[in-house]
Amino acid sequence: MNDLRTLLPEILVATAATAVLFADLPLRTPVQRRLLLWLSLGGVFLALWATLSEAASTAAFDGMIIRDGLTRVFRVLVLGVAAVGLVLSRDYLVRTGLERGEYYALLLFSAVGAQLLAASRNLLLTFLALELLSVPLYVLAAFARHHRSSQEAGLKYFLLGSFASGVFLYGMALVYGQAGTLDLARLGGEDGLLLRLGAGLLLVGLAYKAAVVPFHAWAPDVYEGSPMPAAAYMSVIAKVGAIAALARLIPLALPGLVDLWRPFVAVLSAMTMVVGNLGALWQRNLKRMLAYSSIAHAGYLLMGLAAGTATGLVASAYYLAAYALMQLGAFGVLVLLERMGLEADEVQDLGGLGDRSPALAAAFVLFMASLVGIPPTAGFVGKFYLFTAALEAGLGWLALVGVATSVVSVAYYLRAAYAAYADEGRPGVRVVGGWWAGAGVAVAALGVLLGGVVGGPVIRWVHIAAGVIP
């Protein structure tokens, strides 16, 4: 029973997902169908409550699962992302005729997977959680299944995802071959070529999920093709999950190989920042731009991990939260627009937003500023913290790459923000609004602003995650 209580948040969310699946069948009228969202949100908020109400650290299921600071922080993150992801989706789905219970259920299932990644201390469980995170995302990507681009997105995601799963599995096998166990806690003292090889493959597998260069190529295509809210959600949740897994895996399993994995992660981080920001530079499609931006941000997130210190981990976690808010917010603004019944996903479509909806335009500017890392936004505080971590760990060059690429990113983020005010409104584009999505954007905007102005308490709370660093 106690074992199950440690898993209460996951169980609650999974239950909500199942409930939504069943509730989808009898609910017909639009009013009734509102229940689907309420159910999903209910599950998420109950899980949130369950997460926050349990403070003590404990292990369960023969040590496969641990509930500690890291788990709690990432659970809250995942649940928050899920909640915002849900509210952003609802209006869009209804508008495009895609609203089906499966959507919510899949979204929630993948949230379960992401939560488990943070809690797992066993490679097998990590692998399963990774699949539980990913498979629903493949489906979500292809959810607009009559659209060729959505199908293409789903298939590409799926194909490369399976490929990555294979690599991850092979890494698992090699690690197992060396150590004879899959328990992360027992891998600690091991060393050997197979372990190293396996660790490398494991990292590659997780890097894929986080869209780290050179394993990133799927991301732009998939995000562009996916339905807008799905892209928003997956661009965040996959990263949350992958970072959680890395945060669990690296310090626990590879304490003896610090000299190996730190430069490795640092180089990945640098490459990711560079390629992500360069790729975004010329994008006219906002989804694609945000996809590259999400790649770039994977690089920034890795920076904290590369530092390998408590500061680094906390910085990454905080930046992850900031990233979640700004990325979801930016996508959320787009969800509220449409062009001739389609998604308004091009930079031009933002034209005239400043006049049509000043609040929305202002929010968009805020998100862009935060993505660049301009104060006073959460993005700034996060980057500040990350650079602190990197410099503290002696990774000055990485911090330099980080700031240089941030400067490059100014070009494209601001172009988008600028378009919202300076460009002519494009014919056929309109603000469709939506209460739910609007609320989601508002929450994100508030979070981004507060995270920048009074980030203190949040950071202090995130510090509990640092317990995993020895």
Partner: protein
């Protein structure tokens, strides 16, 4: 509380303006009142600041992000006091002088201006490096949009260029700030000023900070963002940009470059002061070759700011005093010049000097006021510019005669290009259309007269400004000389 009020008042005004309905008169009234209240508050601070104060007054401190060691700490000393006053003065003048220039999106325009004022004041008042950086960067977004939305034809290019240049420098400063924190364990400027750093740390930290400041100033050869930004910005934007944003860089050099890294500053002084002199001459020469009035004024800024940097890096009291005063002067004079260009542009819709000629005939009052400002910029004795330039020259002379000799060339050049401009625009046969060159509106006239009165005040009786900053600068100068001993 005083200082928080000073910073928050405009920001609050900005929010209020944003929330008000789109009624132009109402919006303008709210903005004007906010500006004037801020000015009143700043004036009171100036008046109440005791001249013998060496350190910071009205310091307030609230923990902000304890995990990062950052706190919300404000304070004002003799150095920042002048710039605060300048800021509070220049905004209402800029608004008044360009009252009719902006007709579109007045609400956003006013809101951004107010936000900008708050951020700039914050930059000058912050006594915590993180807070400083926050304000420093927060200035970018409103300025970006001011240029980008209300600017000229190439506004997009200019706005992005401005942003990229500035950001490129400031991120280096960000890294510097962090490393400083890692070395000393604090962002608190008050404590950092008391904490001597080992010279080898200072060296590259100094350059990291200086990168940001030098771009903002701008120091030759990092200046090329400035002409574009100035030319494309709307008049009020140019006034603020020249009058205040550049001062942020100069202020940074003085407060942080010199204050935190005295030894490194001494080592770098010869290079930086040389660049400053090159900037003085180069900016003047290039200004002379311009056809566009606004560009001419923009390059003149480079030249004038060269004096500021020069005065800063000769480390004599007079040099720094002159540099500080020259910051204020440049804000007034060049701000005034941009207002003039704005007045002309409003009427002619061009800034090419060829299109003008004989303006003095059709707008005699305006021409008279213009000449006042032109000569203030050319540092004619009796105006503010002379006091500043002379102090810089004197300070430089005491440190390095050769530099002073070269810098004196700038005195000549400023007369060359400014009078050249005056001749082509105001004098000569009348080429402009008298129907379009309507007389000054009373708002424009008031703005210019206000500027001129301050120009004369500082020119004739700069003592209130000088004496309030003397103690703080002497302290700084003494520390720099002590640092010099250590180096030797």
């Amino acid at each position: 509380m005083m200082l928080s009020a000073l910073v928050l008042l405009p920001i609050l005004g900005s929010v209020v303006v944003m929330l008000l309905p789109r009624r132009e008169e109402l919006l303008r009234a709210v903005a004007s009142i906010t500006f004037l209240l801020t000015l009143a508050l700043a004036a009171w601070l100036f008046w109440a600041f005791p001249p013998e104060e060496r350190g910071f007054r009205w310091v307030e401190r609230v923990p902000w992000i304890p995990a990062l060691g950052a706190s919300y700490q404000l304070g004002v000393d003799g150095i920042s006091l002048l710039l605060v006053l300048l800021t509070a003065f220049l905004f209402p003048v800029a608004l008044l002088g360009t009252w009719d220039a902006v007709r579109q999106r007045v609400k956003e325009y006013l809101s951004l201006l107010l936000l900008l004022e708050g951020a700039i004041l914050g930059t000058f008042l912050a006594l915590d490096l993180v807070l400083f950086y926050v304000f420093w960067e927060a200035v970018l977004i409103p300025m970006y949009f001011l240029i980008g939305l209300w600017g000229g034809e190439r506004r997009r290019y200019a706005a992005v260029k401005f942003f990229l240049f500035t950001m490129a420098g400031s991120v280096l400063m960000l890294l510097g700030i962090i490393v400083l924190y890692l070395r000393t364990g604090t962002f608190d400027v008050l404590r950092l000023l008391q904490t001597p750093l080992p010279p080898q740390d200072q060296r590259w930290l100094f350059w990291a900070f200086t990168a940001a400041f030098a771009i903002k100033v701008p120091l030759f050869p990092l200046h090329t963002w400035l002409p574009d930004a100035h030319v494309e910005a709307p008049t009020a934007g140019s006034v603020i940009l020249a009058g205040l944003l550049l001062k942020m860089g100069a202020y940074g050099l003085l407060r942080y470059g010199l204050g935190l890294f005295p030894q490194a500053a001494r080592e770098a002084a010869s290079l930086l002061s040389l660049l400053a002199v090159v900037g003085i001459l180069y900016g003047g020469a290039v200004a002379f070759a311009q056809q566009d009035i606004k560009k001419l004024v923009a390059y003149s800024s480079i030249s004038h700011l060269g004096f500021v940097v020069l005065g800063t890096f000769v480390f004599t009291l007079q040099g720094m005093h002159g540099a500080l005063l020259q910051m204020v002067n440049h804000g007034l004079s060049t701000g005034g010049l941009f207002l003039l260009v704005g007045v002309l542009y409003e009427r002619a819709h061009t800034r090419q000097m060829d299109a003008f000629g004989g303006v003095a005939k059709v707008m005699p009052t305006f021409a008279a006021l213009s000449l006042f400002i032109v000569f203030s910029s050319a540092a004619l004795p009796g105006t503010n510019g002379f006091v500043g330039e002379f102090l810089v020259l004197l300070g430089t002379f005491r440190a390095d005669v050769r530099l002073a000799a070269l810098a004196a060339g700038g005195v000549i050049l400023s007369a060359v290009y400014l009078l050249w401009m005056a001749q082509r625009v105001y004098f000569g046969p009348r080429r402009v259309d008298p129907d379009r060159f309507t007389p000054l509106t009373w708002k424009e006239a008031t703005a210019l007269v206000a500027l001129i009165l301050v120009i004369l005040w500082i020119g004739l009786y700069p003592k209130p400004l000088l004496e309030r900053s003397e103690a703080a600068l002497s302290l700084l100068s003494a520390r720099l000389h002590a640092a010099g001993e250590v180096v030797r």
